[in-house]
Symmetry: C2
Subunit: 425 residues, 2 copies
């Protein structure tokens, strides 16, 4: 099995200012190729340390992926270390990256400074993968067998997470082109509504009965639920893919509509597809989630095809005036109640003339309302067949509660749309 | 300066299943004590690897903090490695932890299993700090000078973030009791509107002239701008803090209102304080940002004291009907225009009767409008003294553009509020 090491360079990581999310992201990508990550390492912006540590990683692994340590203010250190490590005597300008950088800076109304120009200069020992969304190119250093006792490749990426996310596919392609990898076939099964431990207990027997060559990974996320990833090595043939599908059908029998998709999806992607395919529109009324449900729905490209708009009603009189929630309901049942949730959903549905509407009203914390525990949310869903509401309870801090509320609202919405689609068939 | 290394043990980290947030949290704690974290390392659940890697860290650093690799299912591996490393021949029961574990399990309605009992058994070479909120105790291994060439201490904590957060204060106390520490003083300076490279060039002379014992770090973030952190060692005395303040005043002279705060702030925190202190209210009208500006504003606890509500108008008729944007303006100037931004801000201000309102209308991508380049946003700000609008251009993907739009809207808003406050003085 091919082994890899992931290294992060940057004092900001070591002082705890920034949580390193790149390494985890890259690890997931490598793991899905069947590459084993044996170590992750974070080191500071020091030239000697960088050169020594990377040399050590290259001795241990055939693939070393480095993020960070690049950028207009500290470019020199990492590049000098990489130049020293690879025996480079001079830097060359990468014209492609230079023109990308000029374009990026101009589009931001910025002048191209000397420090920006330096970013497109790379050691003459590396190949370059252009960074289309940032000014530091991806550098690829290849080392022959005789250097570290095995062929080794070092990829140096900038540290900005979205640049890593954009650039990683080219790195993966390069790894595929240069490394003999065994085939691996993955199937993602998106679940929502069960915690990882509950899910594990529910499917324990099924998991134990999986064929030896199959592997299951639990990949939980607050916003998308627990993704189950079923992998099979040598998954190129129809036979192996059929084995995966057979297991998937069994799993569907156990988990029912806790599974919302068998693609690598988010709830908002899935809901977007449902609405688009069925030519339905959506509006949103938020209170405690403060715009998050709307932000999730609109994070999907093309959301304007089905999303009309939303109202965040933090103040009570916005609930009354804009969403038409009757004051008597607010007074009698309180803001965090089933009837207010239903009324908000109906209000925004009427205001926008959408087919569906979802609403949230709850307490994300830290202050409560003296009636409901912090972490309580009521979700309303209005649709062509009436209004329903559901209550959820979580026990986290403000930030996590808000995210759980928003994800639960999307989950409740998709269940109503699914039910309507089933009934109309 | 005392140096430390932070190690994480667990296969779940290396396959990317879990993002390691413990290391960052621990680093912040150590750094505020003036302890320099030189490395962070993540390794898998393998006894030989654990023993070798930890031995190596102890050779390099006086303090090694380990998280993870403990728990009822995989306790044995890490403990055996630590026993081997410290020359332990036998395990002893820690009675205090045993009774805590019995209490914790009973309170969860669980029986005390053999695997639970094993958790309170520790190598006879360690001291124990009780874990009050979990079943794996914190183990402290002290090594004399002659072992690694310097005195060294290894702290082994469980990997559950909540348990780390609870347990770290006892670890910090133990470090303080056993280690001579120097003081460190930090000052954060929050800037917005200049990219890292532009900022670095602008303050280059000032940075070069900093006294030797001061250190500057650039900490960029899409949503909060570039944070400059000025640090000084031995920062206990008034003299050294005065030195920092003197430099800060010089910096303010150079950067002007690109500095929005000299606390460890976000734009939404700062705006919240401005509004609260001046008893002003805010509403928001969003188009391209889809709810993100509102979600940022409401991420601040207590936002309900000044935030009334928001309207996300994705469909044109919501802009007309709810926000009262005149159809003639929409037809004549297009949705992404100065007048539509102004009109949206005025519309939501009138609807909610707020003191201030901010709006966004732009193109986050991937589809454009045939008129404006993708990455264009118009921001409108309505306040007691009229309406203004500003245009910004970015060139990123949909997700990053949305975030830049939202942060720029907050920055434009705070500048208008600041101007009004200056003028009213």
């Amino acid at each position: 099995m091919i082994e890899a090491s992931i290294c992060t360079i940057g004092d900001e990581i070591l002082i705890g200012q920034v949580v390193d999310t790149n390494s985890s992201f890259i690890a997931t990508e490598l793991e899905s190729l069947g590459i084993k990550v044996t170590r992750m390492l974070s080191i500071g912006d020091d030239q000697v340390t960088i050169a020594n540590e990377l040399r050590n990683e290259l001795r241990n692994c055939g693939i070393v992926i480095v993020t960070g340590g690049l950028g207009p203010t500290k470019d020199d250190i990492t590049k000098a270390a990489l130049a020293a490590l690879s025996g480079s005597k001079s830097y060359v300008e990468n014209k492609n990256q230079q023109s990308i950088n000029t374009r990026i800076l101009k589009s931001r109304g910025l002048d191209v400074l000397e420090s920006n120009k330096q970013q497109a200069m790379v050691p003459d020992t590396c190949e370059v993968i252009a960074n289309e969304v940032g000014t530091a190119p991806i550098m690829v250093f290849r080392f022959q067998d005789n250097r570290f006792g095995h062929p080794a490749t070092l990829y140096s990426l900038p540290g900005v997470p979205y640049e890593v996310r954009e650039g990683i596919s080219e790195v993966i392609n390069d790894i595929r082109d240069h490394t003999p990898l065994s085939d691996i076939y993955h199937k993602s099964i998106m679940t929502f509504g069960m915690a990882e431990s509950e899910l594990a207990q529910t499917i324990e027997q099924w998991e134990n009965d999986l064929p030896k060559e199959m592997h299951l990974a639990y990949l939980p996320d607050i916003l998308t639920g627990v993704r189950l990833r079923l992998s099979i090595y040598g998954g190129k043939t129809a036979r192996e893919q059929a084995m995966v599908n057979e297991q998937l059908e069994k799993l569907k029998g156990i988990l029912g509509n806790n599974i919302y998709s068998t693609q690598d999806d988010t709830l908002q992607d899935y809901i977007g597809r449902l609405l688009k395919q069925n030519k339905k529109t959506l509006s949103i009324a938020e209170s405690c989630t403060g715009g998050l449900v709307s932000a999730l729905i609109t994070s999907v490209p093309g959301a304007s095809e089905y999303f009309l708009g939303s109202v965040t009603s933090y103040a009570i009189n916005i609930k009354e005036k804009v969403l038409n929630v009757p004051p008597t309901i607010l007074n009698r049942y309180g803001v965090v109640s089933s009837l207010v949730a239903s009324s908000m959903a109906e209000g925004v549905k009427n205001l926008t003339k959408s087919d569906y509407a979802v609403s949230t009203t709850g307490l994300s914390g830290p202050t409560g309302d003296g009636q409901n525990p912090i972490g309580t949310v009521w979700i309303g869903i209005a649709g062509p067949n009436g209004v329903t509401s559901v209550k959820r309870n979580y026990q986290n801090d403000r930030d996590v509660n808000s995210k759980r509320f928003a994800a639960s609202a999307l989950d409740a919405l998709r269940k109503v749309i699914e039910r309507d689609l089933r009934n109309s068939q």
